[in-house]
């Protein structure tokens, strides 16, 4: 009877398409919005992801997330280096500085100052030049997106595309000359500012004069030393906060979840997708059952038990669920392809299709339950009524 059930459903093209559209819309909206949310949250800790070599990040105890800079005294670096279990510890400067463009405009940049000798904390991928080129005078490495976008030079003729910043070009950072010696690729960050890498010493000369300029201390644990245990030791010895990379990522995205209202906005969109999908699909499915009540009654009269009818409704429900889910998630998968090169934050982890699948199952179960109750309550004697 499964094939009979499928033919009954597919034969009613208007309703079948309506249910599929409802479920497709629900899966697409839920998948797409959830993926953008995860994409945005991933961007919040993009810089931590790129700085993967150290095991531990040491910072001021009041720091709430990776962009919340509360500088330390340089002497803290020496204290951390002296703690048992530390293989090495390097300074890292992170700050927002204004770069003056050739058209006179200013662009805020995320300037990263790396340890002068080791250059630990550098970009994950170089597109042009080498990391070691930072040892040259006034040198900076610019991220590819920034070089092609916000830091790009004005074209000679109006209407032409902007000219990307390239190796050998110069910038002005707080009235200091900076020469581009390399182009790198970095993970997109939440604030999406251009990223400039330079040495720690040079970064502190670019930065406005302050008593404390050390943003983070990057620490590598000695082999055999558990990073979490070392974090505790650093805290007890120096009073500074110390987190593993994963812990710092969690702290960062939890801050954004708690204080930015982003989850509420995306949550509303996802809920709307679920509700609208459920209403459309559920109503259409129920309406389909009502339209076919006479046929269900006929089947019941001819000897179809409730179990058989339940199986038929489940088969119909599973069919529309699978097709709608497949089309919705498939369409959502095309979003990053269609929007490649744009600023869209989109990251579909396996959890999202799994959760959306669960939501679609829930919609189908609700629709099927409503329909099957109607069928169960059906008196087969209705077949003889006009």
């Amino acid at each position: 009877m499964n094939l009979v059930a499928i033919k009954m459903l597919i034969g009613d093209k208007a309703k079948y398409i309506g249910i599929i559209v409802g479920l497709t819309f629900a899966s697409l909206l839920m998948t797409q919005q959830a993926s953008i949310f995860v994409g945005l949250m991933t961007r919040t800790f993009g810089f931590i992801t790129d700085t993967s070599l150290p095991d531990i990040w040491v910072m001021d105890p009041k720091v709430q997330f990776v962009d919340d800079i509360k500088p330390l005294q340089d002497t803290q670096l020496l204290r951390v280096r002296g703690i048992e279990g530390v293989e090495w510890a390097t300074p890292l400067y992170k700050g927002l500085l204004k770069a003056r463009l050739d058209n006179g405009n200013f662009q805020t940049c995320n300037v990263i100052g790396l340890d002068d000798s080791t250059l630990i904390g550098g970009p994950p991928e170089m597109r042009e030049g080498r990391l070691e080129d930072l040892r040259r005078a006034d040198s900076v490495i610019v991220d590819e997106v920034g070089a092609n976008g916000r830091l790009a030079k004005q074209p000679a003729r109006k209407g032409d595309p902007p000219i990307p910043l390239k190796v050998g070009d110069t910038l002005e950072l707080n009235d200091n000359r900076a020469v581009v010696v390399g182009i790198c690729r970095v993970s997109r960050t939440f604030q999406s500012q251009p990223v400039l890498y330079t040495t720690y010493t040079r970064a502190t000369t670019f930065a406005p004069r302050e008593r404390k300029l050390l943003s983070f201390i990057l620490v590598k644990a000695k082999p055999g030393v558990a990073p979490r245990a070392l974090c505790e030791r650093i805290l007890q010895t120096t009073g500074l906060a110390a987190f593993t990379g994963d812990e710092f990522k969690t702290i960062t995205y939890k801050y954004f979840i708690k204080y930015t209202g982003i989850p509420i906005n995306f949550g509303i969109a996802v809920t709307l997708g679920f509700v609208v999908g459920a209403v459309i699909a559920g109503q259409m499915f129920y309406s389909f059952t009502l339209d076919n009540l006479r046929h269900f009654g006929t089947l019941k009269a001819m000897g179809a038990g409730n179990l058989t009818l339940l199986r038929m409704v489940i088969v119909q429900s599973v069919l529309v669920g699978c097709v709608g889910y497949g089309m919705g998630v498939g369409a959502a998968s095309l979003v990053p392809i269609l929007s490649s090169g744009s600023e869209l934050a989109f990251r579909m982890t396996w959890h999202i299709p799994a959760v959306v699948g669960g939501a679609i199952v829930l919609i189908c179960v609700l629709s099927a339950v409503l329909s099957v109750l109607k069928v169960f309550r059906l008196e087969p004697a209705i077949v003889f009524k006009g």
Binding site: M1, L3, V4, K7, M8, I10, G11, D12, R294, H295, T298, L299, K300, A301, M302, G303, A304, G305, T308, E379, P380, A381, V383, F384, K385, G386
Partner: protein, 274 residues
């Protein structure tokens, strides 16, 4: 006539009915009552029905609208409970059976023909006709094959792929009759089978049903308003106000004549393709 339903590769399934124990009686109702609703709004549809339907008999239930015909046929078919009295359908009392047992009894032993045909519009003629076999657990391929054979016997061999909407009213009713017969039921109940058909087509459909009713061990109960088909009945039970007021012998000619006219598959096909 038996060749109409006899198949070289008979499909068998548990019918849960001891045909020998029926002793020529397919349905026996004694003092059956049925009331819809309760209190002041209660409507007594049946007020003590005494009726026997014999095997090999075509019985017609006639009477004005609201006299209880549909209620009685529903009880006889095992799709509606009665309140009081006794009613044995194929030797078994539906009241003493669980819903599941009753559903199985119906599925294996009762065929239905409806006024509005009640064919599923998205299934073709063969698929519609195969449904009772599918419900009895017969594999789909075998069920559809048997349904196609049956459609051939009612003159629709070349229309087995057609959807109901592509068939005329008479053809749809023949598909419905095929569906009622395909699993070789012991009891066939029909509700106004000719009401939506013109006189000529209605006559052909009745000849087909009549031929089926003569098959050994099978009983046919027809509810009708259509006086044009009274001549096909063996007996006619007149109902009024929830009671059977009279049971008369029908005007149908001798059964042997009917066998000669339409008792074989070839005869039926010829009859319906006229």
């Amino acid at each position: 006539m038996t060749t109409l339903l006899a198949q070289p590769d008979a499909i068998t399934f548990d019918r849960r009915v001891d045909t020998a124990a029926l002793r020529g009686i397919a349905v026996r109702c004694v003092g059956v009552t049925k009331t819809y609703g309760s209190g002041q709004s209660a409507v007594m549809a049946l007020r003590g029905i005494d009726l026997e339907v014999k095997t090999g008999e075509l019985l017609m239930l006639v009477g004005p609208s609201g006299c209880g015909k549909t209620t009685l046929i529903s009880i006889i078919a095992g799709i509606l409970d009665y309140d009081q009295g006794e009613c044995a359908v194929l030797g078994q009392d539906p009241k003493r059976m669980s819903a599941r047992e009753l559903t199985r009894l119906r599925g294996a032993n009762v065929g239905f023909v409806f006024q509005a045909y009640n064919l599923i519009p998205t299934l073709n003629a063969a698929e519609n006709s195969a449904i009772p076999l599918l419900l009895n657990g017969v594999p789909r391929a075998k069920a559809v094959k048997r349904a196609r054979e049956m459609l051939g016997r009612v003159g629709l061999a070349d229309r087995w792929k057609s959807l109901p909407a592509q068939l005329s009213g008479g053809q749809q009713q023949r598909v419905a009759i095929t569906r009622a017969l395909v699993h070789e039921p012991r009891l066939i109940v029909c509700d106004e089978p000719t009401a939506a058909l013109d006189h000529e087509t209605g006559g052909r459909v009745m000849e087909l049903l009549r031929a089926v009713a003569l098959d050994e061990g099978r009983a046919l109960v027809i509810v009708t308003h259509d006086p044009r088909i009274f001549g096909f009945a063996d007996r006619i039970a007149k109902m009024d106000d929830g009671r059977i007021t009279s049971i008369n012998e029908g005007r149908h000619e001798d059964r042997s004549t009917a066998r000669g006219a339409g008792g074989t598959s070839d005869g039926l096909t010829g009859l319906l393709s006229k």
